[in-house]
């Protein structure tokens, strides 16, 4: 790895050592976070798969039924029947914190339980009633699917980010610090040795001088 460009002094080494300590600690924490996030993510993915498999079949069935029902009636009467909904769906949306990721929490608000069918039964056939009833049930599930799928997407994003950080610490930052600290230690030791030798040399020169006298 590359050595950082710093002066080989005791002060720099002290600062680097404390930074290395922080980096190691951060690496450990991030790794733990990533492990736990993956665990939670797997739970959500399993749920997501299950929900999607169920809803996909149900939505298709309900929409098909609606198409068949609208085929049995004139397009104008269907448009007239459905165009102005009798009720309005409202969502209760909040946020929920999973491993410091803010994921949405969506709930369908069962407001005033008004009539589901926005038309008079006399004008259209009964197939339409059935298909709308089923679709109403599926919608609740679809909202749950939306919540779970969004959570999965966001957790996946977060896991990817955390993994990048962990890898950057593990393979770049920490080795860099370690190498720089080693370099400074060697340099300081080398200076120390040079100093000792110089002193010894001076001493022997002095001795020689006084011995000659």
């Amino acid at each position: 790895m590359t050595r950082l460009n710093v002066n080989p002094t005791r002060m720099e080494m002290r600062a680097l050592k404390s930074r290395l300590k922080t980096a190691v600690r951060g690496h450990k924490l991030l790794k733990d976070k990533s492990d736990e996030t993956v665990r939670r993510f797997m739970e959500y993915v399993r749920l997501n798969r299950k929900l999607r498999r169920e809803t996909e079949a149900e939505v298709t069935a309900a929409l098909k039924a609606f198409l068949l029902a609208s085929a049995a009636n004139s397009p104008e009467s269907i448009a007239e029947a459905v165009e102005v909904p009798a009720r309005e769906v409202r969502l209760k949306s909040g946020e929920c914190n999973i491993m410091s990721v803010y994921v949405p929490q969506i709930e369908i608000e069962e407001g005033d339980d008004k009539e589901l069918y926005p038309y008079s039964f006399a004008t259209v056939s009964s197939e339409l009633d059935d298909s709308l009833k089923n679709l109403g049930k599926v919608l609740v599930k679809l909202i749950r699917l939306a919540e779970v799928e969004k959570t999965c997407n966001m957790l996946a994003d977060e896991i990817e980010k955390t993994r990048r950080r962990v890898n950057a610490l593990e393979y770049v930052l920490i080795p860099d610090y370690e190498e720089t600290i080693k370099y400074i230690t060697m340099k300081l030791d080398e200076n120390e040795r040079a100093n000792t030798i110089r002193l010894m040399k001076v001493k022997s020169m002095l001795e020689k001088e006084s011995g000659g006298r």
Binding site: V59, V89, L91, S93, L135, E149, N153, L155, A156
Partner: protein, 105 residues
């Protein structure tokens, strides 16, 4: 900011039924035209259901909303069944998170 409402985007036959339930329905004629509609809706709605064929054509746009809490853009099958785009979305998500896809049943 989300307005706690639901929108549905897709070909008219598929999504029209949602209208009766109080979902705001936006029919799109050509699959490619949906991009503008989705962009506009993303500013307002909390949940946007998009039929799979439309979602597949605008996958890039939809991927942009994945990292934010709102809106949730969710592909749903149309009246003529699913083409597996929604499931592939989950697989892609797993692959992104774990680096590879786990075959699990």
């Amino acid at each position: 900011m989300p307005n706690d409402r639901i929108a549905a985007v897709g070909d008219k036959d598929s999504v029209f039924a949602f209208k009766a339930l109080g979902v705001d329905v936006f029919g799109v004629e050509a699959v490619e035209d949906a991009a503008k509609t989705i962009k506009a809706l993303a500013r307002e709605y909390s949940v946007i259901f998009v039929t799979e064929d439309v979602a597949e054509a605008n996958a890039e746009l939809i991927a942009r909303y994945k990292a934010r809490p709102y809106p949730a853009v969710i592909p749903i099958p149309g009246a003529n069944g699913t083409n597996g785009f929604g499931m592939r979305g989950i697989d892609a998500c797993v692959e992104k998170a774990l680096g590879r896809n786990l075959e699990e049943e």
